[in-house]
């Protein structure tokens, strides 16, 4: 009893009864992480953004869902879908169905399906025929000419890049019955653009942070476990990467590669490969201290193989700072993209919340409140949701604080 010193405050009490069902550690963490109300709300918002991202072409599209023109029926909306849209939709639908039917092998199946579809869409994108270029103007003209007998529009009948270029009077309208959140400088519907921008927000957060976390945990873990020369070299590598001014790098590369197609991917990769150093530092520090902890020594003494020591015993105990910072990292990546787009260095043609925000000061210098409020609010809410989730995951990862 050197515990005679003991904590002065009574220890938190844990329930005497054991939980009835067996779950893996991470399943329990996930359950506990979404238990608080704030986390539920945050998750609901992120789910909402994700649903928008998947369903964007169905929700907001100028092309009618169903049209009877000159006597025959067609669905220009479906014809306008490209492979990315389809792949996302199929993953969502099949995944949802599988999730409802059988819980057990849900995640492995899901991952396989998503991987197949992504590969297919990439392959198709390179080698397949280009998606049909469906032009909305032809239907508009047809409607004006009275050639349309029946038309069913999407809930928001405006595409994000549908700019009414020929109709200058639709530019920069404040919110109205037709345009719920107003229109932007080129006459596109703000709501439609915001819905389509959800994809960029999600991709930005997950891909950029995913790259950073994978590099960071691997490098940091190796540094911490092997220490010595590996550690010294790793630290120098970290210092080199930390010396790179990310924003300037992005601006420079954007200037060199003006092609719109790769710009988004490039931004994600840059944020990823310059943002891993923090994760590497956390992981290294954790592994260094875990290496001498008694339970790791006990695992070694029991003759457990290296992968079990590294991943079953050390990783769950060392991942906490990474997981907590992951959500903040996602938020930072979103803000980075918004910043670049705000500076008009990000995506140009594709819709982005940050880019829309930059239009809040109109040509004449007057303040367009709807262009500031709605995209700004969306960015704020998304970042806030990730931060809330991060806090809640932080609590859930500590088994002593579990309820």
């Amino acid at each position: 009893m050197s515990s005679g010193a003991g904590p002065i405050y009574p220890l938190a009490v844990s329930p005497a009864e054991a939980p009835a069902e067996h779950r893996s550690y991470f399943a329990e963490v996930a359950r506990d992480a979404v238990a608080p109300r704030s986390a539920k709300l945050a998750l609901a918002w992120i789910a909402c953004v994700a649903a928008m991202a998947v369903l964007a072409p169905l929700i907001a599209n100028s092309n009618p869902c169903l049209i009877n023109m000159d006597g025959h029926w067609s669905s220009p909306l479906l014809r306008s879908l490209n492979w990315t849209d389809l792949a996302l939709l199929i993953v969502a639908v099949v995944g949802g169905a599988l999730g409802c039917v059988r819980r057990k092998k849900f995640w492995p199946n899901m991952t396989l399906l998503a991987a197949c579809l992504i590969v297919m869409s990439v392959v198709y994108g390179f080698f397949g025929p280009p998606p049909q270029n469906v032009v909305y103007e032809q239907y508009r003209d047809a409607m004006r000419q009275g050639r349309v007998q029946f038309v069913l529009h999407a809930p928001i009948p405006y595409s994000p890049s549908d700019r009414f270029r020929d109709e200058p009077d639709t530019r920069l309208l404040p919110p109205s019955r037709h345009h719920l959140l107003g229109t932007e400088a080129f006459g596109a519907d703000v709501l439609s653009r915001m819905i389509h921008a959800c994809r960029i927000i999600l991709a930005m957060g997950f891909v950029a942070s995913g790259i950073a976390v994978i590099i960071g945990v691997v490098v940091g873990g190796l540094m911490g476990y092997f220490s010595g020369i590996v550690d010294i070299l790793g630290m120098r590598l970290i210092e080199i990467f930390e010396a790179i001014p990310t924003l300037f790098l992005m601006i420079t590369l954007v200037a060199f590669f003006p092609s719109e197609d790769y710009r988004l991917l490039m931004l994600m990769v840059i944020i990823g490969i310059t943002g891993w150093t923090g994760y590497a530092r956390f992981t290294r520090a954790e592994y260094l201290s875990l290496r001498s902890r008694d339970f790791v020594q006990a695992a070694q003494a029991a003759g457990l193989p290296l992968h079990s020591v590294l991943f079953r015993h050390m990783l769950p105990n060392g991942i906490t700072p990474v997981v907590i910072n992951l959500s903040f990292g996602i938020a930072a990546a979103i803000i980075a993209e918004s910043t670049l787009s705000f500076l008009q260095l990000g995506v140009i043609d594709q819709p982005s919340w940050g880019a829309m925000l930059s239009q809040a000061t109109g040509q004449g210098g007057d303040f367009l409140w709807w262009m500031a409020l709605f995209p700004g609010l969306a960015i704020f809410l998304t970042v806030f949701a990730y931060v809330l989730l991060g806090e809640s995951v932080n609590d859930a990862l500590d088994p002593r604080r579990r309820r």
Partner: protein, 346 residues
């Protein structure tokens, strides 16, 4: 004789998310001038909370004193305004802690820290304060105090840091020293040095010591009187001889049997079954009854909490199974017993 420090029915509770936890319940004890009273108990029994409550050092909230008095020479410390309390701390009552590593501030030299304590309570200038600091370091047996004064705590060994802590505590000549596990973190030979130092300083200065410990060996060697705490209450109170010669409470008896002693090779130890109760889930009735060998299904043990009764002159205990327990008087425990001179010679 008038006790220097007297606790009367002190009850301290913590407010937690899961409700109120009574860490200290109706604790009464008396420390007489020049006496060493040992407060013995295991982790979570409330002995440290008791000590910190005397100095009002427990943050409130979450803690609350629900009742009782802390009388220092007849003055209730619980009623003093914070300002006066500050002058009591350090000047009248000083405290040393278990971890000499963390109780010293690493960014100041030990001299600066002692001088700060001295100047807080005595009206002296810095130069005089350094002289007092040097003298008190010499008193606790630190060689070359004039050099050591200018060293940072991390340069000192554990035993040396504890000496510095004692020097700091004694620099203002307190009447009472509260020593909370002063030797637990130290090695046996260093522990012996520190215990001997405390004994010598007590004789020189005539101060009283409230010694908080879990180690019955330390109690036997340094204490005049002993209060045994179990699960927030004092369960036995006697002079050190009475307690070790004729322990009355089954917990005290069990503890004394459970300690391995030198010279008892290969004998099987008598263990107390069960676990030390968690303060948030104390058992009903006598808190020791789930582990007690004397209980034998007695409903009184599980139902009624026994009061601390005077078993005989100078000996208090709380157990339903003591002979004629119900008819013994309930009195406030206090004994001004002293140990015989020279019983722990060096």
């Amino acid at each position: 004789m008038q006790p220097l420090l007297e606790l009367r029915n002190l009850t301290v509770a913590f407010d937690t998310e899961r409700g109120q936890i009574r860490a200290v319940q109706e604790v009464s004890l008396s420390v007489y001038p020049q006496q060493t009273l040992a407060l013995v108990g295991e982790s979570g029994c409330g002995k440290s909370v008791t000590a910190l409550s005397i100095l009002r050092l427990i943050p409130s909230p979450p803690s609350r004193v629900l009742g009782g008095q802390v009388l220092l020479e007849g003055r209730n410390l619980l009623d003093l305004p914070e300002k006066q309390m500050q002058s009591v701390r350090g000047k009248d009552i000083a405290m040393i802690f278990q971890e000499p590593m963390t109780s010293l501030n690493p960014v100041f030299t030990v001299g600066e820290q002692i001088v700060e304590a001295v100047r807080l309570h005595q009206n002296v200038n810095t130069k005089q304060a350094y002289e007092i600091a040097e003298q008190s370091m010499r008193d606790v047996g630190i060689a070359d105090p004039d050099k050591r004064l200018h060293e940072y705590p991390h340069r000192l060994s554990g035993g040396m840091r504890q000496r510095v802590m004692i020097a700091m505590a004694l620099s203002c000549q307190p009447k009472l020293l509260i020593a909370d596990e002063p030797t637990t973190a130290l090695d046996v030979t260093i522990q012996a040095q520190i215990l001997e130092l405390l004994r010598a300083l007590q004789q020189q200065r005539g101060m009283s010591i409230l010694l908080i410990t879990h180690d019955l060996g330390v109690v036997a060697e340094n204490a005049d009187a002993v209060a045994v705490m179990y699960a927030s209450r004092i369960v036995e109170y006697a002079s050190v001889y009475d307690l070790f010669d004729a322990p009355q409470h089954p917990y005290t008896q069990g503890l004394l049997r459970a300690v391995p002693r030198l010279g008892a090779v290969g004998q099987r130890l008598a263990a107390i079954p069960g676990t030390v109760p968690n303060p948030a889930r104390f058992p009903s009735g006598c808190k020791f009854h789930p582990r007690c060998p004397k209980m034998n299904g007695d409903p009184a043990c599980a139902g009624v909490e026994p009061a601390l009764r005077q078993i005989e002159q100078g000996h208090w205990a709380s157990c339903h199974h003591l002979p004629d327990f119900a008819n013994k008087p309930i009195t406030r425990p206090a004994t001004d017993a002293k140990r015989a001179e020279g019983s722990a010679v060096s």
